[in-house]
């Protein structure tokens, strides 16, 4: 009897450690989903359509930072302050590339359709076309194999939570995600350009009567979402490597997160990302690791069935 209780207690300890480890990983994943989800939600807010090429903006951020870091780092493995330098370079390059790619995408795949007053379905097809074009182009040019991102020294635990190690990598993701989201939230809520974005989201025609240049505002919105998506691509690539198809699953999950939080709602995108990341991570302990992706999309179907407007509802208009 005593031995059995001891065995149970020991088992419980492993389970508890596993729980906290999975939670930490889930939160980090959640922040990446949130960064990418913000891009869907911003574009949905101003155009009322889903930018299905957002996955390729994520990939562009990943590859751009990969090439730049490879050139900068060579085979060295930076540590200490150099680690932060490398991460900062990756974030800036990934974000810039994402913003540029998103702006270009808007010009080519969306603005041309807007000029012709195309039906919504045309935008969807155009986005899917752009997505296939981009990832196949990347596959042709950059090869079909997963390349690992040059690694600074980031996989060491910085501290532990209930025994679960928290690696520097996770801290970087959380810090980058939180800072970018806070800046974006303030930008949309409190600056003139942000007010212009909200005005276009609520009533584009009246916004133009007030002097808001709709085309420019839409381009800025794409650029903002693209920047966060590109940084997401870099941070994801840092852990999982880069490959031409890398955008597909994370972006689909980020889309799920955006719907979960309430599409069109900035806070909802971040909250949805966190919930999705944590739930799918914990599902490893409670269901089976093989069901990891199934859980994410089961959530999408459930949300659409039970509460199609998501947790916070649709309201980009209301500042965030």
């Amino acid at each position: 009897m005593g031995a059995f209780a001891h065995f149970l207690a020991g088992h419980f300890d492993t389970l508890r450690l596993e729980f906290w480890s999975l939670l930490v990983g889930g939160v980090a994943n959640g922040f990446i989903y949130g960064m990418v989800a913000v891009g869907y939600t911003l574009v949905y807010g101003v155009l009322r359509l889903i930018n299905f090429a957002h996955s390729e903006i994520f990939m562009t951020g990943g590859f751009a930072s990969y090439f730049v870091l490879r050139a900068v780092m060579g085979t060295s493995v930076p540590s200490g302050w150099a680690t932060f330098g490398v991460i900062l370079v990756g974030i800036v390059v990934g974000g810039t590339a994402g913003a540029l790619a998103a702006t270009l995408l808007e010009r080519v795949a969306y603005r041309t359709l807007r000029r012709r007053n195309a039906p919504k379905l045309a935008y969807l097809i155009s986005a899917i076309g752009a997505s296939y074009f981009l990832f196949n182009l990347a596959g042709k040019e950059f090869g079909r194999y997963n390349e690992s991102m040059p690694q600074p020294y980031i996989n060491h635990p910085v501290f532990t939570i209930f025994g679960a190690p928290v690696q520097l990598y996770y801290l970087v993701i959380v810090a980058a995600g939180a800072v970018m989201w806070l800046v974006l939230d303030r930008f949309v809520a409190a600056t003139k350009l942000g007010r212009g974005i909200r005005a276009v989201a609520q009533d584009a025609e009246t916004a133009s009567l007030m002097g808001v240049n709709i085309d420019r505002t839409i381009a800025i919105t794409f650029a903002l979402g693209g920047a966060l998506g590109g940084v997401g691509g870099f941070l994801f690539g840092l852990g999982s490597g880069v490959v031409y198809t890398m955008g597909f699953v994370p972006a689909l999950k980020a889309f799920t997160a955006a719907v979960l939080g309430g599409i069109g709602n900035l806070r909802g995108a971040m909250i949805g990302g966190l919930i999705l990341g944590v739930v799918e991570s914990l599902s490893i302990a409670f269901v089976q690791a093989a069901y990891f992706d199934v859980v994410a999309f089961a959530i999408l179907v459930l949300v659409l069935l039970v509460r199609p407007t998501g947790i916070l509802g649709e309201r980009l208009g209301r500042s965030a």
């Binding site: 909200r198 009246t206 808001v212």
Partner: protein, 237 residues
Amino acid sequence: MLEVTNAVVRYGAITALQGISFDVREGEIVTLLGANGAGKSTTLRMLSGLHAPVEGRIVFEGRDVTMTKAHQFMALGIGHVPEGRRIFPQMSVEENLEMGAFARRGSYSDDIERMYAMFPILKDRRKQMGGNLSGGEQQMLAIARALMGRPRLLLLDEPSMGLAPMVVEMIFRIIAEIRGQGTTVFVVEQNAAQALRLADRGYVMENGRIVFDDTAANLLVDPRVRAVYLGEEVEEV
């Protein structure tokens, strides 16, 4: 101040404005009357760049604005109070006013205070969402929002629509006051009697054409106007 010559506007195959000409002189209140679908709103939308004419010319203060884009009109000095008010529903009253100053550079806090002095109810409601205001409050906000751009010409589209008679009285008093402060006004109205009592001159539209125009005083007693727009039986002559 504003001269429109032979303007034609089409929506696809439908010709909404079939070559209209009119002018508004500085300091005037001019009204445009007509039944539903006559082309009044289209005319205002054309004057704000929301629908460019396919033929004709629009000149404002000596400058050709025929092809000017909607978002450039506010900076040129033309303010638009759209039909149905179109308040940003999920912005506060104050943010709606700030949107009116979007085309301006520099500080506009004095103008916000000026609007609050002119419309004290908006000051009381400054933190409320635009969507939660009453129709009359929204109309005042829409006018104040347009005035935030310091327009020299103010376009008003059906300012009395859906409002109680007392509120309509007040809105028209405000419009007279705005003209008193030196802003020229061009107003589209279904409520012809009220509009003609306010205006200096009027144009009457039918089926995308301007059929006649005169001073407001003459139009008020014109049998054609009385029959069609003031809802009065006219004795056969």
